[in-house]
Every structure is written in structure tokens, then in C-alpha cells.
Amino acid sequence: MSEGAKQVPLDRAHRAQGGQMVPFAGYSMPLHYGSIRGEHLAVRERAGLFDVSHMGEVNVTGRGALGFLQELVTNDVSRLGPGRALYTVMCRPDGGVVDDLLVYQLEDGYLCVINAARHDVDLDWMRQHLSGHDAEIEDVSAETVLLAVQGPAAKEIVQSLSPGAELESIRYYHHRPGEVGGVESRISRTGYTGEDGFELYARAADADSLWSELLEAGVPHGLVPAGLGARDTLRLEAGFRLYGQDIDEAHDPLSAGLGWVVKPAKGAFLGREALARAALSPPQGFVGLKLGPREIPRHGHPIFQESRRVGEVTSGSFGFTLGAGLAMGYVDPGSSSPGTELRIQLRADPPQWAVAPVVALPFYKRPGS
């Protein structure tokens, strides 16, 4: 274990399952439990169980909670109601992305779910902008665990532990409180894999109980524990951005292809003016590139159009379901239309190039969606 790395509540359970622990965002987390490929394919074919308790959870309450969140994030929080959630970013005044996050409207107040690597930055940012709003924020990350059950069998597995609840009625990006295996949870129909599934928020004290209940209920369905390695290859196939790779303070959400979470009509918010200017003339485009089965792009690889360098890879890896190297990255706006033929330099010495046309994201869409 890395010196100084924090442990998630399920640390012992991961090691007992054969988790290969690596440092991630200051935590010791399971990269895999034997095979990234095996876990990736299991999620697409059956189900996988992820511990993402390293992520942060922040409650926002008070009469001014909605007003505060509307200033903070680009998406329109007033369109939620209790039981709904949305995906959004929060921006600096210059339009750079501070983080991407989910915002849940609860029965009373809101819940923001933020990236582990941005936990301290986000809390500071939120506190900085709280004044003038009749609202309170409470960091409940340490008391909360987050387990994700993802895959075609996910619903059956969670349903088997929640006989009272009718899970099919929880639509995508909807949520409600319920009991799972006797453990009080918030059951959210969300995920980061491109498959159907649920994310379960529970008290840290109940972590071991919930984890083992899910594993046991999953046995007849072929559920396996899945680590961060598979989480990354799955989300890449699904075209989901990763903060710190695809989005960061140096890029605005429009350049990142996330214009759909920016709702200037809702009123003032941090970065609104800068994003209005960017909308007229986006500085960059965001592309997906699907390479061959023996070409693996990686973060930082330069992207060329003919002899001109036009951008670089931000996320690069191998899609085990698609059997292809996959890249996402920023390029000059003029080079970003689907069909544009680009070249990625995979290796400098000796030079090795991959040629691929820009494709529309996502690379993978689950059947029936």
C-alpha cells in the first residue's frame, strides 16, 4: 500500500477478493481482481460490482440551496424534482471546468457527487461561492459508501435484495431511498459504464454488509467484483469524459463536446459569459477515434491531419468489447467533423502511426438503447 494513501471502508474486502491495490486520488483502490479484460466483459455480458466510495458526497440544504446550485453549475437544476438527478459541470468565470458532477434533488435538499481527485478543490470552490446564499453545505464523503452494480443482470440482482421496491419504475437518472439487503440506501439508476445499472449510496458503517449481500445475490447471475481498470475501459467505450484527462480547467465544456449540459437560458451562472463567447467560436473540437485491434493510443499522443499537428489524445486505451484501440481528444475545430481522416503518432522512435477517421461518440451503445 502506498504510504499515506487513505483506505476506503471496504479496503479489507477488496484485498480478500484478490484486489490488486493501486494509489488513486490519494486512496488505495482496486485496479482489478485478476483481469481487467475479464471484468470489462463480465459487465457487458452479466454484471460487475464496483466500489467507488472514494468519490465525494456533499449535501446542500437551506432555502437558498437551489439558487446557490444554479450559480455554481451550468445545467438547469430547477428542472429536477425530488427523485431526479442530472449530470453537469461547474466552471470558473473564464469557462474552464472545475469538475464534472451529479446533482441529485432529494426529498429535502440536494446531493452533489464529485470526483475524488477534486474533493478538496471542489469543497473550497463551493465554500467560496456560498456567501450571499441562504444555504449550507455538508461534506458527507467520509460517512458514505458508493457501490455500483452495472450490467444486463444488475437490475435482477439488486431487485432480489429489495423485494418491497419495484426497481423497474426507477427510470434512468432517477433515484429513491430503499433497502437493499436490509441496508438503507439511496438507489440511483445511474452509472459510468454504458450498461444498465444502479449506484447505491449507503452509510460507511453498512459497507461490508451491503458488499457481501450484493456479491452473494450476484452469484447465480455471474456477478464479479470489478476494479478501476475495467471502469476506465468501459467508460471509454461509452464515450464518458474523465476529469483530469478529458476535461480540466484549461478547457471549456463546449470544446469538450458537453454543450448539452450548459443552459444559459436558466439565468446567471459562473462562466456564463465566457461560455457564450466560446459558443460563437469554440476554440477546439472533441473527437473520438477508433483504431485497429493492434493499435493502442495513449494520453498525450499527438494527432495530425496530414502533416499538420491538430491536437492530442486525452483518453486512450483498448476497448475489450469493440476489440479496438480507442482515443478521445481535442483537435482544431476544422478537423473535428465525423469522417475527417486523422493520424495518431503512437510512437516517436521508431515512428509508428495509426490512421483513423473521426467517429461520433459513443463508440459503444448497449443493445436496445
Binding site: H32, S35, R37, G229, R294, I296, R347
Partner: protein, 129 residues
């Protein structure tokens, strides 16, 4: 773990095992496959290629990284494992057995500087990424 007493090892994490009088199998070690993670594909030489001891003979690419492969011995490539081309995960699952990479015709003894299993284990433990 199979009996590795007949195997010899390089400091670049390849193994070599004599097969009969004049041939030897070459692959990567369990330590190497564990460090690499899931193997996605291999770049291997053509049959008939002559290799010097220590020469680069190909590469292995995983989710994590690409890594060059170096021949433990001098000789001529007489066979390339076709199974690992279609099932690269064999290298992870059985690196010393079904995950062999090339078969070489060798002349004479294996180089003296190759490590035995115990010496390689000590080396590999000290060599952490």
C-alpha cells in the same frame, strides 16, 4: 506455479527453457505479466529470423504499457506461438507454459549470465515499478 528448475531468466524478465538437444522456448515471466496487466497483443518475429543474445525480438502491449522483448539466447526462430495471437490472455494466465512466445534453434550452451529461478525471484522482488 510450475516447476521452474529447468528455466533460466534474464534481467529483462524473459525466460528460456531448453527443449531437447538443439531448441529452446522463450516467454515472459509471471512477474512481467503481472506488472504489465492484461496483454492485448504481441508483436513477434517471423520464422527464420536470426537473433543475437540480448537482441530485441518483438513487443508486448497491455492496457498499461508497451514493452520490448529481448532474446535470452542466440539462435534462429523456428516457431512462433499462434495461440497467443488469437488469445493473448494466455500470456497472463500461463506465462511459463501455454503462453510461450517463440521457439529458437540454439547452438551450444545457454549464456552463463542467465539467472536461475531463485536468483531471478530475488531480482524481480527488488525491481519494483
Amino acid at each position: 506455479m510450475p516447476d521452474l528448475s529447468a528455466y533460466r531468466f534474464t534481467t529483462t524478465h524473459e525466460w528460456v527453457k531448453r527443449e531437447g538437444e538443439a531448441e529452446a522456448l522463450v516467454g515472459i515471466t509471471d512477474h512481467a505479466q503481472s506488472q504489465l496487466g492484461d496483454v492485448i497483443f504481441l508483436e513477434l518475429p517471423k520464422v527464420g529470423t536470426t537473433l543475437a543474445a540480448g537482441a530485441r525480438f518483438g513487443a508486448v502491449e497491455s492496457v498499461k504499457a508497451a514493452s520490448d522483448l529481448y532474446s535470452p539466447v542466440e539462435g534462429e526462430v523456428v516457431a512462433v506461438n499462434q495461440e497467443v495471437s488469437s488469445a493473448p490472455e494466455l500470456v497472463n494466465q500461463d506465462p511459463h507454459g501455454r503462453g510461450w512466445l517463440i521457439r529458437i534453434r540454439v547452438a551450444g550452451d545457454l549464456p552463463a549470465e542467465l539467472l536461475d529461478s531463485a536468483a531471478y525471484d530475488s531480482f524481480a522482488q527488488a525491481d519494483s515499478h
